[in-house]
């Protein structure tokens, strides 16, 4: 699959757009299976690049969400409280939190769509 080029990616399978929307990749939702629970920080919380900011749970397992960049949470996707499966249906179109990015230069260190796709196929041993 080709990953949208309007955003950057992390090796933890999160994505972030230039305007601070954060979600998980299609590869992540496929690996997780049916997502049943998403736990997100409150509006106003600070998130730190590389540190956990919430969890996403499938039937079988709990997975940490890692912040791709640092900033303050300005909005959370409330629909995920009642319809977490939306992430499975459309991982790239479903943002989880919006942050005000403290330092936009942090995004330069993240993976491009092409690099992320390469990373995923290498991880799978193709």
């Amino acid at each position: 699959m080709s990953y949208p080029t309007d955003r950057k990616y992390t090796k933890e399978h999160e994505w972030i757009t230039a305007d601070g929307k954060i979600g998980i990749t299609n590869h992540a939702q496929d690996s997780l299976g049916d997502i049943v629970f998403v736990e997100l920080p409150k509006v106003g919380a600070e998130v730190t690049a590389g540190k956990t900011f919430g969890t996403v749970e499938s039937v079988k397992a709990v997975s940490d969400l890692y912040a791709p960049a640092s900033g303050k949470v300005t909005e959370i996707n409330g629909a995920l409280a009642t319809a977490p499966e939306q992430v499975n249906k459309d991982a790239h179109g479903t943002w989880m939190v919006k942050i005000a990015i403290t330092n936009p230069a942090e995004l330069n260190g993240l993976l491009s769509a092409v690099d992320y796709e390469k990373f995923v196929s290498e991880e799978a041993g193709h």
Partner: protein, 389 residues
């Protein structure tokens, strides 16, 4: 605490991992594989073929699903002393078994705790088949052999000889009937029969399972070709019922809804029969069996902890190993198995708590990532299959 999974690709299996005869089939079908007690097993099949844990679970509850359970073990005891041997090591009363009848039981240590749980099948005048857990195959076989030496019977480890496929759900009998000449309508729950199946003769088929649904478990020769042939024949015959292949993920959520114990969780070598609530399978009126004396003592002393069912009231999912707290925040027990329940659409758990906290309706807390999340004690099993009219 239990480590949390990172969102990354499945690790490569170590070279010593064991595989069932259907391993290549599962991989061909695109199943997500997992190391289960040293076995490379499917945890779920892909969404692209209509699977995934939730769909697989629902298929078993509403129609039919099939499972490769060949990793389970099989021990045969045969000979004039076979019944006496089984009576000595098993807590249930095997003398009540008619030919072709089966019963749930357990092998106990002298302390009255569990070596393993087991289904005992009477296959002949003096022939019994014990079907045991995958993770305890060697331990169980050694235990059975060591503790039956004094009886005139042969003890054989047949685990590698069988591919075992479970066909489970309200339509399981319809599906299987298409493939065999045996009259399955005559086979009651927890009875077995033999018949031809997919060109194989004398196949053992038991009306047993681990899903809290009607269904069968069939035992066929474990060579790869035969196993694949039968697996695909079952999927083909089941198309009209919407059959899906099911993995260990759905196997776990199905058995949890039915409050069926899992070794290492609800039962173990440190938990006794009374604590686990398996009294009705333990026949203390038998003159003797391993564990009876200690169980008598334990019964007199009373329960220190008991297995309960929990339903989450506040937002959160209780998971295996999470602590149980009382409303004051004091640790009082732990979760043995916890998960979302796809059919019930609730988050449920089994847990050990002191008897004083075990009343239906009692509110406790589950510690989830450092926070106490409320749950209530509910009757179990959480799910019972509807009676056929």
């Amino acid at each position: 605490m239990f480590p949390r999974a990172r969102l990354s690709a499945a690790p490569v299996s170590p070279p010593t991992i064991r595989k069932t005869a259907l391993n290549a089939v599962h991989r061909q079908m695109g199943a997500k594989m997992v190391d289960f007690n040293g076995w490379d097993m499917p945890v779920e099949y892909p969404a692209s073929i209509g699977c995934g844990i939730v769909n697989e679970h629902m298929a078993v509850r509403t129609s039919v699903g099939i499972f490769d359970v060949s990793h389970m073990g099989d021990i045969r005891l045969a000979g004039p002393g076979a019944l006496a041997a089984v009576q000595h090591i098993s807590m249930n009363d095997a003398s009540k078994l008619a030919l072709n009848q089966a019963q749930y039981s357990a092998l106990l240590y002298p302390q009255g705790t569990f070596v393993d749980d087991v289904i005992v099948h009477r296959l002949g005048e003096d022939e019994y088949l014990l079907v045991i857990n995958a993770g305890t195959r060697e331990k169980d076989f050694n235990w059975v052999r060591e503790n039956t030496r004094q009886f005139d019977c042969k003890v054989e480890h047949l685990s590698d000889e069988f591919t075992q496929i479970a066909i489970q759900g309200p339509k399981a009998v319809n599906l299987l009937q298409k493939l065999t000449n045996a009259d399955l309508s005559a086979v009651k729950f927890y009875w077995v029969t033999h018949g031809s199946l997919c060109g194989l003769k004398n196949v053992l088929m038991g009306r047993t399972g681990y899903t809290a649904e009607d269904g069968f478990e069939i035992y066929i020769p474990s060579n790869d070709e035969t196993s694949a042939h039968v697996w695909y024949a079952i999927l083909d015959a089941g198309k009209e019922y919407g059959v899906v292949p099911c993995g260990l993920g759905a196997r776990n959520t199905l058995r949890l809804e039915g409050k069926l114990p899992l070794y290492g969780h609800e039962i173990s070598d440190t938990i006794n029969v009374w604590e686990a609530g398996l009294d009705r399978f333990c026949k203390m009126e038998k003159p003797e069996f391993i564990g009876k004396a200690e169980l008598e003592k334990a019964r007199e002393q009373g329960l220190k902890r008991t297995l309960i069912g929990l339903e989450m009231i506040d937002r959160g999912i209780a998971r295996d190993g999470y602590k149980i707290l009382d409303l004051g925040g004091n640790e009082i027990g732990y979760v043995t198995s916890g998960s979302p329940a796809p059919f019930l659409k609730k988050n449920i758990a089994l847990a050990y708590v002191p008897p004083q906290q075990s009343e239906i309706g009692n509110i406790v807390q589950v510690e989830i990532r450092g926070q106490g999340v409320k749950a209530k004690v509910v009757p179990t099993p959480f799910y019972k299959r509807p009676k056929k009219s």
